[in-house]
Assembly symmetry: C5
């Protein structure tokens, strides 16, 4: 189950800018992949040491450095020194408990996003992605959970399909964000299916587990919401055109991603509304069942309790009980008792209890 919050307290008391990795170590080895391309050529390499990337810094072609795995603090430090990133940026990259945000340091933009995964477990896994967009480079940092939505972009760069090779680093950054947001739809759809399954179940035969499942989905919704809501502001601010790093043609594309984000938020809000409604249904269906049970007990009880009383009366041992001596007493009593039962049943019928 997703933890309510990560162990951030570890950092309390340290001076600002101290690099500490907050979050679980999700991968063993660190993978550094570089793609360097322009309209005509494309080079792709994997490095084990971060220093190898530094040669790309002053090349005019677009460079995309992707770092998977954040626990090697030294690497991040070196990269930051080479490119001149503010220590607080490096600190935030390592702190995987950020909310999505964008910060404009003039020379580069620092963007934090949340990638959502639907692994084997039904639960959604969140991974923090940091992007740094400079004039001719994009550096992306992943926590390194297996599964990656960037593969299609790599393929497009390799094959030169689409616009990507003819555009600058801002279009690359847009493509990465677009890939992340597009993947939200996959996650949200799976959620949607779970909710609809649950709805069917609720109508047919609600059980105690249904409630637990509603609760779990509500809980996950809270976390999804936390990951997606701030994104709206981030992308809107990217598209609004305050930074010269984003060129005008890319803005139209960012407007498109913005629309998608709104749609994701819409879907989350709709799901929340649905889940609230389902809780109400569950509760009133419980109360309906209770009604049924109690009604049943009442019917059985009110029919037999008076009859048992009568049987008790004629089981008494008084010496003078004239009825006991009557020839047809026993059969008359049976008739009376049957009559009472029938009357009761009719009464319940009239009250719509049967």
């Amino acid at each position: 189950m997703t933890k309510l919050m990560k162990k951030r307290s570890r950092k309390s008391g340290l001076p600002p800018g101290t690099l500490v990795h907050i979050g679980e170590k999700k991968t063993e080895e660190i993978k550094i992949t570089v793609m360097d391309y322009d309209e005509t050529s494309c080079r792709e390499e994997q490095f084990t040491s971060i220093e190898a990337c530094f040669v790309f810094k002053d090349k005019p072609s677009v460079t995309w450095i992707n770092v998977e795995g954040l626990h090697n603090i030294e690497n991040i430090q070196k990269l930051g020194d080479c490119y001149g990133f503010h220590p607080l940026v490096l600190e935030d990259i390592l702190n995987t408990d950020q909310r999505p945000k964008i910060e404009d340091f003039d020379a580069y933009l620092y963007i934090v996003l949340k990638m959502l995964h639907n692994g084997k477990s039904p639960q959604t896994v969140t991974e923090q992605i940091s992007l740094i967009l400079g004039p001719n480079y994009v550096i992306s940092f992943q926590e390194g959970i297996e599964g990656d939505v960037f593969n299609s972009i790599r393929e497009r760069i390799r094959t030169g399909k689409g616009r990507i090779r003819t555009q600058g680093a801002d279009y690359l950054a847009y493509s990465l964000i677009d890939a992340i947001v597009d993947n939200y739809f996959v996650v949200i759809e799976k959620m949607g299916e779970r909710i609809e399954d649950l709805e069917d179940e609720l109508i047919k035969s609600p059980v105690a587990e249904t409630l637990q499942e509603i609760h779990d989905l509500k809980r996950e919704m809270i976390f999804l919401r936390k990951a997606v809501w701030p994104l709206r502001e981030v992308i809107s601010s990217l598209g609004r055109g305050e930074s010269p790093l984003i060129k005008d043609p890319t803005r139209i594309y960012l407007r498109d991603v913005y629309d998608h984000t709104i749609q994701v938020i819409d879907a989350i809000e709709t799901s929340r509304d649905m889940l609230s409604g389902m809780l109400d249904i569950y509760l009133s269906s419980m109360s309906h069942k209770m009604n049924e049970v109690v009604k049943f007990l009442t019917i059985i009880g009110t029919i037999f309790i008076p009859l048992t009383f009568l049987a008790g009366v004629y089981g008494m041992n008084f010496e003078h009980m004239p009825e006991l001596k009557w020839r047809w007493g026993y059969f008359v009593l049976w008739a009376v008792m049957s009559g009472m039962a029938v009357f009761m049943l009719l009464y319940f019928k009239k009250k719509k209890w049967l």
Copy 2:
């Protein structure tokens, strides 16, 4: 039942601007209708190939091209190339999961709306309508569900009734939007009737199905709301006059549509409030019924349980039980038992349980 979300995930990983039809294929054949008119003449034609429409592009008269059925991607692509639409616009036309929005591309406005239908089923059906408004043309795209609110506009163009033939393309676009919004009232009124029927039922004799119906109406309200709320912003932005494609006299008419949209939203919010109130009523009426049942059991139980005990006592076989030998014992006991029952009934009367 309306799906919570459409299969959008299919697109995840594709480059932006890739044309993929998202949504069900709602019609088999594609229908392209062109109306070309000015103050004096009016021409109406049906085509099977999109190329035939291209001749209208540079005519000064107002041209309305209506495309029904979106699954022929090639057609849309050709149309877009001819008129010079941005690839993202074409992508959005095909993606029927859009929320209502307006986008200003200077040379044309792209508007997405939701048309609501009340078919034979009580459930409301949503259809996406895309409008592209250029200086002398309006192109509208429908998914192609049978039933169409545009017929009255066609009739008005043919007969030259009203202002429509003397006005430009912006007035045509307004007329289409107005027809869609006017149709909302039809849908909302039907909803209103269902709600009022339900309310009567709730007061007379709530059953388990009532709850299900409340839940269904709430669910539909969520979807209606999603279709109508963003419209407010769309129409207000159209009317605010930022685009030179909308002329001033048309703005007054747009203000009128804006008012209608607000009224629709008002009606939806009112219905939501009513439905919430009805759920409360249902729950407390259930609890009231339960009270009745339990009270009944309690009355029967508390009257007969003590009497049965007494009968049991005089059914015991002790050798020395003086009462059993009394001449009037049996009758005295009956008197005592009747007294107890009467006392109990009076007690319940006093407690207002009877």
Copy 3:
């Protein structure tokens, strides 16, 4: 009961500006009253044909034309043609399903308000009032429900009491709005009394009808709110001084009406809060009663069920049951049973069930 919405769908498909009367015909005959006054003189006349009013159009004195009854569409059309009103204004006058709004057509202001009546029935009746304020005239349209809050204004004009005769048409329009808003207080106070009566009832002896009444009041509140909320914006926009038709001294008076509107809204919100609270009280008082009933059953049941068991035991017919032969067996058993009952009662006392 107030209908959730009026039959507006009738208009769907008609070109904008088509005059159709939406709403019930609330009066048989149409009454046209004209008051024409200036500081020194005052003329009051009743007409049956609208044309008779046209002579007042160009007189410098202030003219107030009051039209009661909206089903004669021709009249409205003629009036509109004479004064040059926009077709959409005439359409809105006839459509009694408007929400309160103000529209500025430079030459005149068009204002829609809702008048509230408390007729003989406890339910509140809503009537749409349209005002058109021109430089030297006010034209008011009523649906024509009997009962009219404008009589006091007529009286003031006739007698020249107060400021009204010395001021322009804007002050007259203010006076009409003020009369309508002042009447809200009458309606709201009656509601307040019903709520307080209900509250007393709720505390003393809640019955199923109490719930129904709470529901009805909530429903009415929803409609009141719909009538009053938009008014705030209307009056505030009137007072803000964008139109030259409203002169500065009148603005101070409009600020005063604005305050009253806020007070009405405050009172409505307070009532809503109160009604919500009352529903909670009702539900928990139901659950309290249930508790009482079940407790009673439990006490009776748990006292007598064990005793009945004991009586049953000594009613058995085993040949060897030593107790049955004891001299004091019967009396000992009574003692034991009384002891058990007393013990139970004490136990319930301790548990605070008694």
Copy 4:
């Protein structure tokens, strides 16, 4: 109990500016107190006729006229004529149903506030205070409920303690507002104590009266809120410095009162949250108790009902019932019955019902 609304309807139909006293007459005699002071001297007088105050109008020293009791309309009228107040201001002073507001008439500021009292009854009493701040005077109007938070200010003026004698009329107005807001803390604290007492009670032994008390406190909170929320806007607008009647050094003090108002609002919101939480607790504690009662009945019932059945079986009068003849039959049955009871108890233990 505080009435939901005052009898304002009495005014409906009267021309604006008509002076009518709305609210209960809370004092018999009208008290007019004047304090006139500057840095060096201070004069304090009580008048019975309002005309005596008019001499102070043109004196350069600061004059504070305090009017207690509003039912003498003539007095208010004369004062208004002398100082040149707008008729609507006089109307609002008499109408004690105002919400807190500020109105700027250039020559003077008109401020309405609500004073809260905690009299002997636990209920809070609200009194409307109107302040008119001119260049060299403050006129305050009270309804005249006994108990007055202005005494400390009078004392400070008399003794010349603090800054008050060296400052202008704006500082005096600030001091009066500060005194009123400071008194809110007294009222809120008493409410806080009642809430905490209630919370203790709720945890220890909730009774039906607890619910009533929660309801009453919620009701009072609604009224408190209504009195305090608009104050925020009033004081903020005073402090923002739009009127030249407020000098700059006084603004810092107004900022301080503003902070206090925010704190009062905070406290009210916190109390509301607490009360909502308490209602939930009450309801679920009721349901917990119900559970206990029903569990008890179930335990007694399920133990004894089967045993009673067995006793009934061996009380039957069949001629051939072999068990009845067994030597140890009776004792074996006792053993069996005890075994069943023990088994049931263990079963309940396992189910955690005991």
Copy 5:
């Protein structure tokens, strides 16, 4: 338990600027610590009298005066006189019931914050911290609860680690705020753990104490929220750069603290949502248990009540009861009764009650 509000009423009636200590006296002795440092040197001293601090006032180096314990009013007064603080600032420092705020007095900034502690008790303790930031000094006031988050900053100043010694007083103020906000994460994490423990408990075996614990956590959340929400505005206003006392490089750091504050607020809101959800779960789990108990009673009751009735019938003493004489009557009855019981069990199985 945290009191709903502090005894502020004590101040009501006193002139503004009167120094009264509001809050509990949390420490016996007053501790005044001074750190005076620049890039090259650092001096640290403890004083018992406040006058000793005055020598630092005009030194160019950065001075940090930390005052622990607020009950010595004279000290605060003297310090205020020496540095020229506004009397309202001194009043606010002593009044520990402030909400976080910032006030700009041009020559200095006055900032109020809340420090949160997790002592030995599970409850969170709140301590008010006042900071005054001047051109070359920071004066901090603490209530003096043991435990201090400033120690790490002292250590950094002493050792010259990090940036702190090379920066001005604004960076010192930032560091203090950062330390306080960082500590919030510690508190919030502990809350988070309690919530997650509670959630486990809720799913496994909810008891009455679970409800109490949910209530307590909700209550604490209300107070946390009150302490943290206004902080957002405070820090955002600090970072926005209106005061020249804050230099530009420090603003980036303040933006970082702002992010942290948002994260804390996010975490609090998430926790609140979780707690609300848990209350729903608790209530419906209670209702589920009730269902179980009632179902059990119903099953036992409906099986044995008819059987007991039959046994009663054959326990009657009528002279003519043919069945009693039958050879196998007793055994046939047993068969019938067993059959009835089996039938009932099957029926319950079908109804899913078993």
